[in-house]
Symmetry: C2
Subunit: 132 residues, 2 copies
């Protein structure tokens, strides 16, 4: 295994942002979630779907909160030797007209030097979703 | 949450490759691990270190096996709606002259339509490594 190359972002700052992301979603704080993102941030959730950015992010997190989304981490945060970190979790939510669902998911984040989210890519496929 | 877009790779094929990756490393089968990769595959382990490819992969996995590497998955595999999947695990290994170490890690794979690995990017940072 190679030695560390560089640490452009403090690990504590990475973890603070990822934990705040989960906590603010769970608290129904859509504005607080949005404030964690850089202005030009891009969300690909799930990986393989069209990326969202800019004015699309507000409605995205308004829906997230309206669906009663609850995130439960299932493993400690993984960092990197770069500007990326990973949050592994199960998530429950209730879309309109649907029973409550659970997805086994993991969000891969890229952060700037201030700990703001530059990109979020969500690992989950059709087989990772089931009734809660 | 959006609906599925496409499924270019069968989930079962994704999982077979990722499980074989862990099983062959744990079995000390360096040639078998290497056979899971496409000829032009790229490994970035950890994320933030220089990518390896081509003739560098053989020695990489020879070292992996020589270090007594053992992978223990800690969550079910996560897929995607594209060609990517995620293996979340703890890994123990003993580099030369070192005590045995444990890393909290996660490997993000991109696969081709035949289930061969095109890229592997490993999420782990300095703070994810400790004595085993």
């Amino acid at each position: 295994m190679p030695h560390p190359i560089e640490r452009p972002i403090a690990r504590a700052l990475m973890e603070a942002t990822l934990n705040a992301y989960a906590e603010r979603i769970n608290a129904g704080d859509a504005a607080g979630v949005l404030a964690l993102f850089a202005p030009d941030a891009v969300i690909e959730d799930p990986i393989g779907s069209p990326p969202r950015s800019g004015a699309d992010l507000g409605p995205w997190f308004a829906d997230t909160v309206a669906f009663g989304t609850r995130i439960t981490p299932v493993a400690p945060i993984r960092g990197s030797h770069g500007d990326e970190a990973l949050l592994v979790f199960d998530v429950e939510f209730t879309p309109p007209g649907s029973p409550r669902l659970r997805i086994r998911s993991a969000d891969a984040f890229r952060l700037d030097a201030d700990g703001r989210i530059l990109s979020l890519r969500a690992f989950w496929g059709p087989d990772d979703m089931a009734p809660a």
